[in-house]
Symmetry: C2
Subunit: 537 residues, 2 copies
């Protein structure tokens, strides 16, 4: 029997006291489970990613003090703990401490620093070098190599050198952000690394939400024969204890892709709300598919008692959508308020009439309605301390089919990285999970509309969502050119129109609330396009 425990914990950035308690709790649970070693995620002490907090010396010092106090409490079990190390010149490192009997035995510095996508690690950290510290330890007569996240992704990096130096177990501590489809790639990588090195792989990932990122956990152990030995759950805290000598260990099943994305949205929303000190959220319920889905996500994340729907009909909202909004609230058992924006809109128009004399109504009057709704939601937020969830999706955010300071007003945007076609998929999947469908059929059947003028539909303005999302997938997700996207000349004008909308609406995205990153290219830290940009192919 040789048990290793993987502490898949949900840390909070900057919460040294809270993280330390969590670490000690899992440490004692691992000890109780008779593990010889317990492994914590990358930068567990201060949370991940700390971003510019690590540019503050006092933050780094507090993190070192926290580590010191933890070290003293490690007895009867060995531990690997991620933290920010600093040298005498104040240079800092993404580090892992190997701790035994109240003392740090070795400190390994991450060699490979990711600086792409959402990652800015070269902004903060110096790379370690294998020559300076090999990250090799010895435990119960077994030689073990320690590495950090990116180190195991780069062919021939640290893990390979440790294996050549005789390590039979490769521990990798990670904070690997969720992306749809990434777990499969991650698992294949780990299986491959085991086969390549003939060493066992202990992969410990963090779990939970941090601003736009959500970490999916699914920590794993792969045997030296390249066979998956153990796996923790996705999106939940877990102490995964794996007996390296046993034939059977806990192996959580995998969620299918739609379910996985849905759980990511729930976990990301829950943690953003709660870690920022809120307990309740409110959202505008329009009777459309987006707000209906956000309401369901919010209820799954926070419970029905903590979600308030606010329906704000204008003179353009048809009776059917108002009824659907109420029905969604009723199905979910959430409170629903109805506030007409008609009179407020009228007064605005009256006050502005003299300045707009002789000019036809246009987008101005439409946007005003969206902004009045934003103002009302924010008034509730201010008065009752509710965080406002916005309900826009990625297709809208991409082409700017949304009103800045209107429906974009709010603290968190659960669907920010979800294309409209996937909104429908998620809503259908979620409905299928219970007999009494939370989202009424009529919401699926009605053509999507902003209801800001009579007989308006989204697809009249933007083309069919299927077609739109295909163009966006190519242009946004894959940075393809118009020339590559256009398959035949009849599409040229449409593709150019959409591409132009994406480019010119960067200013709106720059002022958008955060939302859960789901894809390989979300409109967040992994999307850094200039606003001032005259590029045309």
């Amino acid at each position: 029997m040789f048990k290793i425990a993987l502490a898949q914990i949900n840390t909070t950035v900057g919460d040294f006291a809270g993280n330390a308690n969590l670490i000690l709790d899992y440490l004692s649970r691992a000890k109780a489970a008779k593990a010889s070693l317990v492994v914590f995620p990358e930068l567990a002490v201060g949370g991940y990613p700390p971003e510019d907090l690590v540019l503050k010396n006092h933050f780094v010092e507090n993190n070192l003090k926290t580590l010191s106090s933890l070290v003293k409490k490690v007895h009867g079990i060995a531990a690997v703990v991620g933290f920010v190390d600093a040298d005498s010149k104040g240079k800092i490192y993404n580090a892992a401490a190997f701790i035994e009997e109240g003392a740090i035995k070795t400190i390994y510095h991450k060699n490979e620093l990711p600086n792409y996508g959402v990652f800015d690690e070269k902004r903060y950290f110096r790379p370690g070098s294998f020559e300076a510290n090999k990250g090799l330890i010895s435990l119960n007569g077994r030689k073990i190599g320690i590495s950090i996240c990116e180190d195991i992704w780069i062919d021939g990096s640290v893990y390979a050198k440790q294996s050549k130096a005789g390590a039979k177990i490769l521990v990798n501590i990670s904070s690997s952000p969720y992306e749809a489809g990434k777990l499969k790639i991650r698992q294949e990588l780990l299986l491959r690394r085991a086969k390549e090195t003939k060493a066992a792989i202990i992969y410990c990932n963090v779990v939970g939400g941090q601003d736009e990122l959500v970490f999916d956990g699914a920590s794993m152990v792969v045997g030296s024969d390249g066979r998956l030995m153990a796996r923790a759950k996705q999106f939940e805290e877990e102490l995964l204890v794996c007996d390296m000598d046993a034939a059977s260990n806990p192996l959580a099943p995998l969620l299918d892709e739609t379910q996985e994305v849905y759980q990511a949205l729930v976990a990301g929303t829950r943690d953003y709300v709660q870690k920022n000190g809120f307990s309740k959220v409110a959202l505008g319920l329009s009777g459309g598919i987006d707000s209906s889905l956000v309401a369901v996500i919010a209820v799954d994340a926070l419970g029905a008692d903590n979600v308030i729907g606010i329906s704000m009909p204008s003179r353009f909202n048809v009776k059917a959508t108002r009824q659907d909004a109420k029905m969604v609230a009723g199905n979910l058992g959430i409170k629903c308020k109805e506030i007409s924006i008609k009179r407020i809109h009228q007064i605005y128009l009256r006050v502005l009439a003299k300045h707009f004399k002789g000019l036809a109504p246009d987008i101005t009057e439409e946007n005003l309605q969206a902004r009045i709704r934003g103002d009302i939601l924010m008034a509730f937020s201010n008065k009752f301390g509710w965080l406002i969830l916005t309900t826009g999706n990625k297709s809208e955010m991409a082409v700017g089919y949304c009103t800045l300071y209107g429906d974009m007003s709010g603290g968190f945007a659960p669907l920010k990285d979800i294309f409209k076609t996937r909104v429908y998929e998620l809503a259908r999947w979620r409905n299928s999970q219970q007999e009494n469908h939370p989202i009424p059929k009529s919401v699926f059947l009605r053509a999507p509309t902003a209801e800001l003028r009579p007989h308006q539909t989204d697809e009249e303005s933007l083309g069919a969502y299927q077609q739109l999302d295909e163009v966006l997938d190519a242009y946004v997700q894959r940075h393809q050119s118009v020339g590559t996207i256009v398959k035949d000349s009849t599409q040229l004008a449409y593709v150019k129109k959409i591409v132009n909308l994406v480019d010119k609406n960067e200013y709106k995205r720059r002022q958008a609330p955060p939302g859960v990153k789901i894809t390989g290219r979300a409109f967040g830290r992994d999307w850094r396009l200039p606003i001032t940009n005259k590029y045309k192919e």
Copy 2:
């Protein structure tokens, strides 16, 4: 006679056609001036910083095509042009082409890639190596070294190696963003490098605004004796022609610091507005110092005909501030509209009354007024195509003393990086520039107030601005700890309060419009703090 021309041009990101025309124009002017060599700034072909545009293959290809077409037109003069180079594997480099008689003679790749502050160059580019390409050329029998921006900032880097290899002239092409006080450091560096290498330094910088950055120009030539030979103007395009063998060359005087900051705001605002296709701006004129200063900046940037003031009194605005707003408009000769928000506010309160029954008025009702103003400004923006300038300053942005979707609504925030105490300095300086002061004395004398409730003043909520700005300078600009900031225990509670406000208002800053970066740490690409953050010292 050996003339070198420094083409200090105002490029636009992504505008290949426009930048190419600009380059050709300056090329022919340099030729007319009998220069042997003309030098263009870093990444002149595609503009700087292109950010994630360079992750698009087609962008890089278009940049290469543009360079090729330029190369053919270089005859009778040599040129150094900055562009994005790509190798056969698609890896890209921040590069400089040395062009002579219609052909590229050598391509140098930037060795030192900045990845701190606003810079993310390791996200995009591979570093060049001196071994692979020394950046050495020969012209009229003189040996010249070419390097790019950061290369000359790092002790012992490329410039030193080129000098050791015999270069007597070191050309450095830059896109060095403006920061108050940086020009002095830059000039001292260049003088030092000349003394160190006994080579002349040709330093060509770009000029103009790009999103939050403004480039200040001030291109320079330093003789091999370490003496400043020539300098171009700050914040203006210029072809600086320097005869390396002459005793006297053009030497633009330096602006003093307040003037320099003011010009940076004017240049940054003008370029943001114009490069984004706007000609007119509007702003809320409150009669306070911030909006008065923004109005003056806007007029200096765009002309009085292109600036519209909108005064939006509520029931809390005293007569004096309304009059001051009108007086500022009158002094500047800009159109001024007055729109009372009183009735709209009343209707909101009436509609919300039933939901807020039994609850005392609080920040909710105050914020509503700010949001109504935001909605009105945006209505004018939508109707007439005016870009809205917000008027908040950095002190407010730091502590969140501003209303999200209210006074923060707008496309550009000229004072985003200007502390309140500096707002006064700039306003006083600008008034001193003309006999008829644009900003009335009463605006300076009145205690700053948001006028969202009776008898409100900012300093009652935040402490004296002098004191506030000192704390912010320490906490925001220098990342100091509370322990360091507090000089005696009586300050502790105040400093903790301010620090707490800064931390908890990160969510507002994340949704703020862009503004001109003036300091070493603006609330933009150089400020990447998490929103979800439980760090307390």
